[in-house]
């Protein structure tokens, strides 16, 4: 092996050739025929494959390093935009604090007095869940039966356990997963609920819009109406029934936010 001090000494011809050809391959500088020979060698020569893997990582790393200044600047900029308060937003003079306290108390009283009874009803009015059907014809899946019975009778605590068992055997069943999210929502396990709804609405399932609908209901439950409204805006026009529900909820939210 050559003693290469920071690249000042030469390598053996074989090592030089390997490094050069691997780099050329990664940069797309080989002809189709050369590429074929190269790939055959990767399959048959373990030592060469090992060297290739390392040089590939080094090459990717170099490309990333070339971009680093650019993306770290962007990440810094966005971090400030999305996490920090706007400069000058906290001018705490005694007068401002007093005014803020008085205004807050007044608003809280008005909001409590006028809206409290309606708020508690808003979620209930709109959280009309679908009937869960997991049992197929001639199916004797006990977990599916228990899930349906508990969910459709509104016993969400028992339904949570039954659906989780069902999902262990059927992890890809998005409808059951959505139902599990609803159970969490109804039993106040809100973090678990929103994780499931986000997963569904960000996925490719046909139930995406229902994931979004329930994420909106999650925000209604938290009384974060603006976010609920934004969420509802992102529901597609595909399902007329869901769109009707969406419209009704947005009308109610509009009244609430006035």
């Amino acid at each position: 092996m050559p003693a290469s001090n920071d690249g000042k000494n030469f390598l053996t011809p074989n090592e030089m050739e390997n490094a050069k050809v691997i780099f050329d391959y990664l940069q797309g500088n080989l002809s189709a025929a050369q590429e074929q020979v190269f790939e055959q060698r990767l399959e048959s020569d373990d030592e060469f494959l090992e060297e290739y893997m390392l040089i590939k990582q080094m090459y990717s790393h170099l490309r990333e390093r070339n971009d680093r200044e650019m993306y770290t600047a962007k990440v810094e900029e966005l971090g400030t935009k999305y996490f920090n308060k706007k400069p000058g937003s906290s001018r705490f003079t005694i007068k401002n604090i007093l005014l803020l306290v008085i205004a807050t108390l007044a608003i809280l009283f008005i909001v409590w007095y006028i809206l409290k009874p309606q708020k508690t009803e808003l979620y209930k009015d709109h959280a009309k869940h679908f009937a869960l059907h997991l049992v197929m014809k001639s199916d004797v899946n006990e977990d599916a039966i228990a899930s349906e019975e508990s969910f459709n009778s509104g016993n969400y605590k028992n339904a949570t356990i039954a659906i989780q068992k069902y999902l262990n055997a059927n992890p890809m069943d998005t409808k059951a997963r959505l139902a599990l999210g609803i159970c969490h929502l109804e039993t106040e396990n809100l973090q678990e609920a929103i994780e499931i709804f986000d997963e569904i609405r960000n996925g490719t399932s046909t139930l995406r819009d229902y994931g979004t609908w329930y994420a909106a209901l999650y925000y209604v439950k938290l009384e974060e109406y603006e976010q609920a409204n934004e969420m509802l805006d992102s529901i597609s026009e595909n399902d007329p029934q869901l769109n009707k529900k969406r419209q009704t909820l947005q009308d109610d939210l509009g009244k609430m936010m006035k």
Binding site: N5, L11, G203
Partner: protein
């Protein structure tokens, strides 16, 4: 598994296009922030964790073999959670870690878990590549970065004031070899 439509982010980052980052922040900051605040963190903690997560995804995107088969939002959330739990562990707040762990989804797909592990391993590898690269001479660093940018040897001769194309190739190979030695040391 087939590529997820969110692979567009990976493709863009791989090409050095970071305009879609804003969209990723807008969609994913609220969820990560909320979770970290609910688990004994501050807004500043959430910011640090989120930034680290985004950087690890950008770095992973430069691996030409990486293909995204899951929603990127789920990946960001899970990496952020794991990073925050590591932080809690470092602070030895066992109870908080337990609470945070209880909130993890129990039935994640195995492939998804493997992907997370791979991203964490790659972060260690990247750190090692970084520290060994920093030990190379400035000349070697510039030469290798120029090659990775796709500069032609003739251009490199001019930029780095070298003798000829043959010298450029020899130095490139020798610099790569030196980097390998430092990496393996």
């Amino acid at each position: 598994m087939s590529l997820h439509s969110d692979h567009k982010y990976i493709e863009a980052f791989r090409k050095g296009d970071y305009r879609l980052l804003d969209e990723l922040y807008e969609k994913n900051v609220p969820q990560v922030k909320r979770w970290i605040l609910n688990n004994s963190g501050t807004v500043e903690d959430a910011k640090d964790i989120f930034q680290e997560t985004i950087i690890s995804i950008i770095r992973k995107a430069h691996d030409p073999d990486f293909q995204l088969t899951y929603p990127i939002g789920g990946l960001i959330f899970q990496i952020s959670k794991n990073k925050w739990m590591d932080e809690l562990r470092k602070k030895k707040t066992q109870k908080k870690v337990r609470n945070a762990l209880n909130q993890r989804l129990e039935d994640r797909e195995e492939a998804f878990t493997l992907l997370l592990e791979k991203i964490e391993q790659d972060e260690l590898l990247q750190r090692k590549l970084d520290s060994s690269f920093d030990l190379l001479s400035d000349h070697c660093q510039r030469l290798l970065k120029l090659f990775a940018k796709g500069a032609k040897p003739k251009e490199i001769v001019a930029i780095l004031d070298m003798n000829n194309v043959n010298t450029v190739y020899r130095r490139k190979n020798a610099c790569l070899q030196r980097w390998k030695e430092l990496f393996n040391a």
